[in-house]
Symmetry: C2
Subunit: 336 residues, 2 copies
């Protein structure tokens, strides 16, 4: 059964076309030509893809796509003629002219790393077919940044780790995982702090191993962290039951009643509410709806959905209203 600890699984591949400078040094003509090349290649499959060019993208839309992990900050910065190509279900996104010519990713909800790898491999095959991809027999795929050379692959899982975080044992577990060349970071990657007890676990190395090695390596790390997390949750209940339950119930009380809520506070308290559902202090028939709510309440996504022009103070009030509305129906106190 899905215990909600692995929120999503993601695999991304970095690819470049031979004979073209990397995007940072690519002129407009070649940038556009590459974009067209990738879009056409993807058009040959069964799945329908749509393209959004950065030049046509409003600031809010760009932010919204970043919040959903469909594009990166670099896509908006490195090359003026960059674009993102996504499938209908939004689980495959191909960035063109980010740091590399192609950054193709598949992101699936839950613990589905192998499936994500399979799906993105198909996409990779489509792009490679009939195109000359930069590849060295000794090194593997060539990329703009040496850290990606080799497989050009990063496999990661977004994990919900409140137990490890609240028992302050995350550091130790990260250390253990790092010995297997894994990295643990905040939800939005390097240098971002964790919100809502969400952590990204990914491979640190891309060179000298196969793609399957990477997928199985990350899977093992995820499995280990999952076990640690469950142990930590049990410990927390035994040692600090009252404080724990109180903190969770207060978080629920604030989320269902506050008049204003920042994203950070919302995410952290939502994390506690989800933990409360796991313990059975709170009832929720469909926890995945809480993760959806988390996405919908990110600043840019929320603003776009609302159709309103809001400053940050108004947005926090609007968020509080939405959250209270949704949570009051979705999550209920368990009878003692």
């Amino acid at each position: 059964m899905d215990n909600g600890i692995v929120i999503s699984s993601r695999v991304r591949l970095a690819r470049n076309f031979a004979g073209y400078p990397f995007p940072a040094h690519l002129d407009s003509e070649k940038s556009l030509a590459l974009t067209q090349k990738v879009y056409e290649a993807l058009g040959k499959g069964e799945e329908k893809f749509s393209i959004v060019r950065i030049s046509d993208m409003g600031k809010q839309q760009g932010e919204a796509l970043k919040e959903l992990h469909l594009i990166s900050d670099d896509l908006l910065r490195i090359n003026k003629y960059s674009a993102v190509i996504v499938n209908k279900s939004n689980d495959v996104s191909v960035m063109v002219n980010e740091e590399d010519h192609v950054r193709a990713q598949c992101i699936l909800p839950g613990n589905l790393l192998a499936e994500a790898y399979e799906k993105i491999s198909d996409v990779d095959d489509m792009i490679s077919a009939g195109n000359n991809i930069a590849y060295s027999p000794s090194l593997g795929y060539l990329t703009a940044c040496p850290t990606n050379v080799g497989t050009g692959m990063r496999a990661s899982a977004m994990m919900f780790l409140p137990g490890l975080s609240l028992t302050k044992s995350l550091e130790k577990c990260i250390g253990a995982v790092a010995r297997f060349d894994m990295t643990v970071r905040g939800e939005y990657g390097e240098g971002t702090s964790s919100e809502g007890y969400l952590y990204q676990v990914s491979n640190a190395k891309t060179l000298g191993l196969t793609e399957k090695d990477i997928v199985s390596g990350v899977s093992v790390a995820v499995e280990q962290l999952e076990k640690n997390e469950i142990t930590a949750r049990q410990l927390l209940l035994e040692q600090k039951g009252t404080t724990l339950r109180d903190g969770i119930m207060r978080a629920y009380g604030v989320l269902t009643n506050a008049y204003t809520l920042t994203t950070k506070e919302f995410m952290d308290k939502l994390g506690l509410v989800k933990l409360g559902v796991w313990y059975g202090f709170l009832n929720c028939d469909d926890v995945s709806k809480l993760d959806e709510l988390a996405k919908d309440c990110r600043p840019a996504n929320m603003t776009l959905k609302s159709g309103k022009n809001m400053d940050s103070e108004e947005r926090d009030v609007y968020r509080a209203e939405k959250v209270a509305e949704t949570l009051s129906t979705l999550v209920r106190k368990t009878k003692n």
Copy 2:
């Protein structure tokens, strides 16, 4: 209309019998004789009084009566043969052998100082009838402590002043009131800090003025503070509307969901909830029930009512459950 700012009005008189040492130096025989004298005097009226002797009183019961302002700490300390005599509605309580032989008080809900004075005067007349009360034509009533000599009277009002407290203008208002020989203190008198934004306003002087002077003096001070409080609340709404509403709604959220609650936190957050009802952020058909809840949730009263033997951690959990139960039905969010 009652705006809930004056919670209760209280008048107490200090009296002593001529020819008897003060209670601190009174032997057992005389202590018991005096108690009997007072109890008999009160028995002559229409109202039925009952007597509780300190020697028969459990620790919890003593604490409970203190929490309800029916007895003082000194009653439990100064003389082993002290007692309290109360009427059925608990609004008249006569302490025998506290600091003085007789401390008679009337406490009424709301802004009813004149009525409280009238009622306690009748009680005073009953006690004085046929008894020799220590009185000096030049000084007035004689008391154990010189600060009570004269009228032996203290008139006070319990006021709910969140506006003045949150705008940090209470100090200034206390200063203004002090110039008219009034004192402002926490709910449980001298040296106690305020909980739940409750403050006791009383006369500082008992000598050189009449009882009616005192009642009207306190009434004027109460009226002034009431006006200041309303102005402060309006200012707060204008200047810090979002923060104010947010704080109130969170207090409500915590009180209806927390798993554990100390008295202090409960009182402070209940104060915010009451303020929220005043502003119309929250709906409550009967605010006086919130003040009743406050009494019922004091440690000793709650323990007695529960019929359970609880340590302080269990009591806080029990309180949280009671409060959530009561508030969820009594107070509702207003639709925005």
